[in-house]
Symmetry: C2
Subunit: 396 residues, 2 copies
């Protein structure tokens, strides 16, 4: 009666959701302050005042039809021009409004790219650990997702494994830096090497292999430069979201950039427009288009994430955990204290520490701790991590 696949996708609860719901139930029993919920990537920095002020000003001073009327499918042309100038000023690029397609956030942006590029038999590649919805979105457009095993020592790219997985069917490579869940930022060296490999393979296979750079965490990086990928590799599509930088996850606003330098700009931008049309993602929310243009380039205060990162990282190291030092996003991805990360996270629950098994991100034996929560909650959680480690006989 219905699509069995859609029913399955709509009803099978994700691990994160299950953990989160357990947390809500448990909080009702033992009190909110006794639950240490590291499960969700929901930004806890409040939306900056300048964003609210811009929205209010637009609502109060613009003609309503200018604010709420249909925009052209790729988004308000002036807004796109402003975004282009802002990106150019920051990264020394040379974009214009025509390179931008405004979308309802990064999930829409990447899915539009998948749909735009996919021809029959295509494969996409990503690197463990990775955001699990990539698989859902890639498969939903009829392509296949191949996953390169993780390079656990630093969460950079394992190029030997990567080269084994590249085939003539490879249409694009999805990267996500700063990374959910590892917290790593791909170095310039990594991006250069990636560009080198893809350039050689594109030549060998006789067709372009694209990079889809999924960048919702771009602004959340600690004392490291996040390389701007199109400067290193021409066939790059940039997918951005304001969910994290402006703490607007619910408003669904972001964009795709198709640089002039890609092989056949017209073909690719046209296909992006067609994909947005069939996914019913033309005309991203119009008030928010105007707001992001007004706020383009304004830095929001995300120092709390860095403070939390340090606090949790030091606390875990002190408790005896192994963990790569976080460079950005708002996640730590430490090694679990037993091989079975599900069992480990179950045991952590006994201490009211809610953690997500790494296997959910294609990387068993690790766990994700989202630290976009109150600093004080992290402080109070540290003795519990110590107790948990002690239970495993670590550092005692």
């Amino acid at each position: 009666m219905v699509s069995a696949k859609m029913y399955e996708l709509g009803t099978k609860k994700s691990t994160i959701r299950t953990i989160f719901e357990f947390g809500r139930k448990r909080a009702a029993e033992v009190g909110e302050e006794n639950i240490f919920d590291f499960s969700l990537g929901n930004p806890n920095v409040p939306t900056p005042d300048f964003v609210r002020d811009a929205a209010v000003e637009i609502l109060q001073t613009y003609e309503p039809s200018q604010v709420h009327g249909y925009t052209v499918a790729p988004g308000n042309p002036q807004v796109r021009e402003t975004l282009a100038q802002s990106v150019n000023a920051r990264f020394g690029t040379n974009f214009a409004g025509k390179n931008f397609f405004i979308t309802a956030g990064a999930a829409a942006a990447i899915t539009i790219c998948f749909k735009a590029l996919t021809e029959s038999g295509d494969e996409f590649i990503t690197f463990a650990p990775y955001f699990p919805e990539y698989k859902v979105f890639v498969e939903s457009v009829g392509a296949e997702l191949k996953v390169v095993p993780a390079q656990v020592k630093d969460w950079q790219i394992n190029f030997d494994e990567f080269e084994k997985i590249l085939t003539p069917k490879t249409k694009a490579v999805i990267i996500n830096s700063p990374n959910n869940p590892s917290g790593a930022v791909y170095s310039e060296e990594t991006i250069k090497k990636l560009a080198e490999v893809l350039t050689a393979k594109s030549k060998e296979y006789g067709h372009a292999i694209f990079i889809i750079s999924d960048e919702p965490y771009r602004e959340i990086a600690y004392n490291v430069t996040v390389p701007y990928v199109p400067k290193f590799y021409a066939n790059t599509l940039v997918c951005y979201s304001y969910s994290k930088s402006f703490s607007l996850p619910g408003e669904r606003i972001g964009y795709v950039i198709v640089p002039d330098e890609v092989e056949d700009f017209g073909k690719i931008y046209g296909a992006v427009a067609g994909a947005a049309r069939v996914l019913t993602h033309v005309n991203a929310p119009s008030l928010w288009q105007l707001v992001i243009a007004k706020c383009a380039g304004k830095p929001s205060d995300i120092t709390i994430y860095e403070r939390n990162a340090k606090l949790l990282y030091n606390g875990l190291i002190d408790a005896g955990f192994e963990c790569v030092k976080p460079q950005g996003a708002f996640y730590l991805f430490p090694k679990a204290l037993e091989n079975d990360d599900y069992a480990f996270c179950e045991r952590a629950k006994k201490y009211d520490l809610l953690l997500v098994p790494g296997a959910d991100f294609g990387c068993a034996g690790y766990f994700r701790a989202a630290y976009c929560i109150k600093t004080e909650t992290i402080e109070r959680s540290l003795p519990l991590f110590k107790k948990l480690a002690a239970k495993y006989g670590v550092n005692t």
Copy 2:
């Protein structure tokens, strides 16, 4: 290198778009006031003040994370409860929040339904004249759209033709009342007859046939009742948008209702959730979720559409056109003055009257005139329609 289909869909200009762009160019030459653009269905009634006030109040008084944070996939539970109560109060239904899935407008809502319901080989049926994107959206989920020829005398349903097109492959019937482009409202008699036929055919074929009721124009009806379809047929999915009623087309906010009474609520709601997930339409824009809940049930002043409808209808009849009297939405769909509606619309352009050929809506020999424009523009256009008719030797 890209999906040929997506490229085609993203680059082939629609007739409406081409006409609209011609109008912009021509306006630059001869002045805005000398162009009579009836091409676009963009509401010209300003967004009601109470909508703006609600948005400003929410931005200024709520916690930012309450406004802009992620909501659960189907939308804020309290908002859904409020919408249910509002619909119940108006239509005597018995919905709860769990029956609602909030979406980014009606285009997303119907496409989510198509995707949720479609199994291999499925067909959807709609009635000419119809919104042309139905075909794009239905085909994008791998189903086929069958079109029942128009009943031109009143734009109700031609049941003889309908029964010929129904087959065991029919998954659902898409209706749109008040209708774009005909301006007709399906009578209670039509809906009852439709329910009767579908009940019999569902029984005969041994599976449910759904009605997908696409209702963005529900509030725009002139002295006629728009029957509430779920009260007449259990297997109805309602797709609604605030684009027209609150003049918020750019903000993308609407919903799907899955009534308890459908065959297997859990299966269908689950599939709707899965379809929303893969179309990356979970969590509709969060500020607008709160705004529509605050404004639920408030009537907006749409008397201008009725005034415009009368003025244009009387003017066209006076000029010698044949046209069914409009009952709602903001379109007239008169008979063209020659069989070739494209040629007719080309000729109308010579008078700077911008009209859309009926063939674009699956109904050749007619044209659509969208009257959601300034009343004064319509007044000034009437002598031109007379001249155009005279050119055809009508009413002279």
